[in-house]
Subunit: 166 residues, 8 copies
Amino acid sequence: MTEPRVAIVMGSDSDLEIMREAANALAGFGITYEMEITSAHRAPERTASYARHAVERGIRIIIAGAGGAAHLAGVIAAHTILPVIGVPIPSTSLNGLDSLLATVQMPAGIPVATVAIGKAGATNAAILALQILAVGDPELVAKLDAHKEKLARGVEEKARQLKQGG
Amino acid sequence: MTEPRVAIVMGSDSDLEIMREAANALAGFGITYEMEITSAHRAPERTASYARHAVERGIRIIIAGAGGAAHLAGVIAAHTILPVIGVPIPSTSLNGLDSLLATVQMPAGIPVATVAIGKAGATNAAILALQILAVGDPELVAKLDAHKEKLARGVEEKARQLKQGG
Amino acid sequence: MTEPRVAIVMGSDSDLEIMREAANALAGFGITYEMEITSAHRAPERTASYARHAVERGIRIIIAGAGGAAHLAGVIAAHTILPVIGVPIPSTSLNGLDSLLATVQMPAGIPVATVAIGKAGATNAAILALQILAVGDPELVAKLDAHKEKLARGVEEKARQLKQGG
Amino acid sequence: MTEPRVAIVMGSDSDLEIMREAANALAGFGITYEMEITSAHRAPERTASYARHAVERGIRIIIAGAGGAAHLAGVIAAHTILPVIGVPIPSTSLNGLDSLLATVQMPAGIPVATVAIGKAGATNAAILALQILAVGDPELVAKLDAHKEKLARGVEEKARQLKQGG
Amino acid sequence: MTEPRVAIVMGSDSDLEIMREAANALAGFGITYEMEITSAHRAPERTASYARHAVERGIRIIIAGAGGAAHLAGVIAAHTILPVIGVPIPSTSLNGLDSLLATVQMPAGIPVATVAIGKAGATNAAILALQILAVGDPELVAKLDAHKEKLARGVEEKARQLKQGG
Amino acid sequence: MTEPRVAIVMGSDSDLEIMREAANALAGFGITYEMEITSAHRAPERTASYARHAVERGIRIIIAGAGGAAHLAGVIAAHTILPVIGVPIPSTSLNGLDSLLATVQMPAGIPVATVAIGKAGATNAAILALQILAVGDPELVAKLDAHKEKLARGVEEKARQLKQGG
Amino acid sequence: MTEPRVAIVMGSDSDLEIMREAANALAGFGITYEMEITSAHRAPERTASYARHAVERGIRIIIAGAGGAAHLAGVIAAHTILPVIGVPIPSTSLNGLDSLLATVQMPAGIPVATVAIGKAGATNAAILALQILAVGDPELVAKLDAHKEKLARGVEEKARQLKQGG
Amino acid sequence: MTEPRVAIVMGSDSDLEIMREAANALAGFGITYEMEITSAHRAPERTASYARHAVERGIRIIIAGAGGAAHLAGVIAAHTILPVIGVPIPSTSLNGLDSLLATVQMPAGIPVATVAIGKAGATNAAILALQILAVGDPELVAKLDAHKEKLARGVEEKARQLKQGG
């Protein structure tokens, strides 16, 4: 019951600050998750093994964050049939343009569901994971409805503050 | 039973050549789908209405392709809790860089699962849709396993041809 | 008489620092305006409603600022016949290149009058609004003439200071 | 009564193919216009003179298209108080990215209302001109309403064709 | 004696036209090579196995060409201690900028020796392979000297033709 | 005798920090210069007048620095037959890519001799001005020879320091 | 008397089509020139020797065109005190963005006077050369005046044709 | 025995902070090296001489780091048959995109083995040098095996820390 349904994987502990946004968002939705550090380049066998065994361990979705020549999401996607969500991390001097292109421009056959560069992307990876889980689990739909309402109310609240402050 | 589970939406019939790749791939997987033309800019109410009612019509995933200031996927995502997959179309002189950024760089709260620019992306949108459906429908896993095997066999076959031709 | 003729809309209160430049410039010209926070993605119905009713409330021009996959100006333009001026906000690691392309590359049929990224653009949005109002309101021409003279005098003054300081 | 209200200016006759889209769209709306070739670089005095006298000749809006280091719109904007709409032309090997940046990134004080690169931008320049004229001329609002309806009907018609063809 | 010392690997037979440049250049230098098709994404285990066993089969250098989110060189480098030369293939609408960044921006620890995009890069991969082999095999130095002389003579010959033709 | 031979022009006093590099380098070479602030957009007539009368005032070369949609060098070049050197200033969020393209991509007929973005470019503008003056004034050649020697000695000195420190 | 005053240098005969624009423009101005093929990479000593001896052979200005990692102009500039004009050639899949950056972004100390990418740049290199020669040779000023007049008349002629054709 | 086998060359002492990463990595592997400052532009003859004599001094590999129009690696490669590894330095406002393109886009005939921009690239240049030396020196293979193991263990250690901290 508390076994993780979503895995959040990153290539380095320096990505942790950004990827915690995904963890926090999942926790807020009550979705169990695990966090893992593994590297497509420095620990390729560990990464392949992790990706290949995720499905049998009950993981339903893998969120992978990486920077630069960001191969982590693509390598995981190569080794699993689970949906893989890629979060480009802006860790080099090119500000994430490299990570974005290395994550999103996958060849036909192996998709990576890519979200925005950085923290907004990490948060959205969690929401996308919830949306994916909700496709097969109608009980989660209420959480998504609540999320949407909260977003809309947040906008209204900020608009009200602006007018009061103006 | 034959009601579509995936919607393929595009902004213009000029996007049809690319988006047919998604349709063909879904058909190959035996996933029912519908195709729709609607525009975030030229038909905003139609688009909002389509997005809002998709879930009640049984649609589980929406694939949206658009070019230039590609807002279609984002606008649909704003109006639905379903997972939305964005396919950037290279329809302007900037070769899809504009479509990619306009699709993927969504703000925190509303994700679009973005795939590669053009035909590879359209094919991958279909595979991603199958992966998402399979999260809640274990019967589809066999199709994904078969897909992965077919990809691997295709590589082996091409490698064999190369050696025979060499 | 004091009802606002220009609306300044932004997607988030984090855009306020930049969009205040537009407000300050309009105030300097004596043009009444209102400021509003609404989001194309987080509050799409509010945004559509705002855009659709702007004209009947007496708004003549809408200035919209947004960052990232900056859809706000385009979505508003889809719902109104008023001229919409888009201000790309540099709110992501891509420094506004994403916002610029997502704002300016609109498809044929729905224009967004795009200005420069950031504060210069916000100021210019206000001047453009004044120019647009002046097309139908000759009394405003004097303000534009004064603005041009002030710009030229400012250059002369800075040139004089440079020579005195040199 | 038939004196042109909109000027369409371009730097070279090689820009004519693209800028005719603006002319055709204006003609379709029944807006009188004139077309002019003048160059910010090769004929700077002619350009300055044209810009300075446009307002007294009854021109209300200037649409300027140029490629490369596209200064035409900016130079005209420097010499007039009229709204200036810039159309970036993709005439160099950089596909219009240079024209876009040279047109849109104007300094605070002198806006250029920039539209999309190429033909879509030229068409939208005409629609934006109509929107601007309509701010001060309510009789034009009906044309904009009709334009919007036509766009929406066009989308519906294409959607119908897609379904019949599918 | 005729066992290949260099491996030329590519992700797809569509990369063959470009990668043949590497093969032809190696053949011209009398360096034995093998060509292989394997994909980091579609055949990840085959790729890992190929990379891990290359060294024991006598391969000294691996040249890997791939396009888009070009992971092939990086994945191979993760699985071998051999020098890996990456050739970015311009196979998407982004003209190889994506392939270049996905190949070159490797994290600290796992280098890929990246050469130019496309055919020039494929040719240079072969020359770089020869240079690397020559570090440990002085007999190859003469071939590099001859190559340099041939390049210089080629320039002189073209200069002479230009003068005779002028 | 002390009348300025080189003009250093900039669009705003905010460019002064960068353009002083040009002034300092010219002073170091003993070349007389003047500094001027004028804006292609905010003071177009002043700019045109300045450019048109420069030659008769004895100016031989104009160095122009500007940022964003950097038209200053191009506009000056349009109004004079003197060589114009353009220094792109990185004054917007795009880090000078906009200024570079707006300065260098001039149409056939009106060149701008463009140098690097920012301070290195400003220094080089001064050296280029000296090189240009030296074409017609052999006495200046010695200064260029001395400059080249100083550069080479500077490298040697830094290399020596590195070795002593290592 | 007929000894060349301008050298046009290029890295390869494939650059000849573009660089002939410079030759034709110089010929049209009556400026003697020579054309040379030499490569910074394939014939570095020849290039260095050519650059070092140009001044003593009476060359006053060197125009250098190259593509990709375009080092030719920079290398020549390193070896001579003459003004060097760089023409970026769009010879790779990156359309000249690489050539432009490799030509223009020179470090402080060694300028390259960079012009536009491709044919417009080659033509402008010739005009810039004429402008530079005219700094020290007042007889050439008349040619520049004539050139400017011809440009302006060309614009007028095209404008007249447009009106007659319209 | 202690004569350097690898040369680390940079254009300026301002590149030292980044290039020390290469030195430290080589030292960690027990590979002898020398560091040198020389500039392709400011000291071209020194650079050519250094490159031409490196091989006879026992240098086996040259690592060259430079920024902007980064010609150093290419110029060295033109003068030697040794493998040259290029490290793009992010020293201008373009964040290393210029250095990367100027380093990697070499023409057919003269390769530069390019690694990532900045410190990661400098470290990887050292590892690549070790890989190249190991091709001809089997005793070094153990160091590469140890390096790979250390990378993998580092990932495992960070993963363990993450779990303990979580």
